[in-house]
Symmetry: C2
Amino acid sequence: MSKYARILNNIKRYVSLTVEEEEITSIITSSRIKKKQYIIQPGFVCRNRTYIVEGAFRVFYLDEDGKEHTVSIGVEDWFVTDFFSYINQTPALNYAEALEDSHIFQMPYEDIEPLCKEIHALSEYFRITTEKAFAFSRRRVISNISMTAEQRYDDYTEKYPHIVKRVPQYVLASYLGMSQEFLSKIRKRKMHKS
Amino acid sequence: MSKYARILNNIKRYVSLTVEEEEITSIITSSRIKKKQYIIQPGFVCRNRTYIVEGAFRVFYLDEDGKEHTVSIGVEDWFVTDFFSYINQTPALNYAEALEDSHIFQMPYEDIEPLCKEIHALSEYFRITTEKAFAFSRRRVISNISMTAEQRYDDYTEKYPHIVKRVPQYVLASYLGMSQEFLSKIRKRKMHKS
DNA sequence: AGCAGTTCAAGTATTTTTCTTAAACCACTT
DNA sequence: AAGTGGTTTAAGAAAAATACTTGAACTGCT
């Protein structure tokens, strides 16, 4: 079984692969990232699509006041990317930080592009997964403007209980768009009710 | 007073500068690095000479057994570089890790080279500081082969007491070429004697 | 045999990170 | 004017991670 079985299986959930496997794996590099390390930093171009084999990451930006806003959280079998930086190959504005010791696969932009031209299935894979991610982020925007903090928390907890359990509370708060303290209060309220 | 006063003053300890100051500072970028972050990683080219304005770094490599060997430790007014990678502009084999939250100035290889051709004083500065660093590393090699672990510890403690106080013991042990446990025992022995 | 040193494993101490709580405050609704 | 939904600041507690110590068993050398 290939070292890259995990990502190949993921690809095969969306498209079917035959002889292309080797071509695809030839552009992948595998690495291990320790908790707290950044794989993307403001000022540097995001050169890779990064697939999480094991572990968890978040993408966040630091506003002028030094406050962190978590843009996305990803665990196994998700991609972490600063999409704007990646697509335009311009310097990133965000950080991508490992929330746990993690194992990742990376594929560089300059290799993916020609390969997608060549391999239809690969192109399809990225199209579909990107569309999903985009749709997801759209819904998040909506939920942010139309719901109260508590509703956002409930909503997210219901849909992603495993993620809620896994990430530090301040990360979750900055993802859900509220202060850490307020999230702490929401949780306390719930405990007393139940 | 310039934002870059600290490095300019350091340069002026070795050579005299007149009008060149601005040209030099124009290639410097300033950044803040949090404890535990790497500024150099295996596989990536070390593009910069990094001057420590405030904080501390170490350079280490990870052997096949996963053991860390600290190659150098630097504090304020020292440079941290993977020299082999920097000079040849080839991928590094070492990590450079912040041991504290730090403030650094960086000058890229591709800017330094032409500037050294142009500004004699700058060339002199790098020549002298590099020679010092080289001589230092030579002596270290000698001390490593000719002294016992305890002698190396005594020697280093005498010369750099401020560094000994500042870095974690396991870093010092991996720098002095002994196990952490053994260093702990050496220290214990000393305590009882004195 | 004995010294200089290592590895492994378990336990403790210390530091850092994360979470909680309270108080004072702001902006909207009602 | 008062209640709701939220923020900020600051201090303290709890939890987790890191760093250090210790002992035992072992290696290689003289």
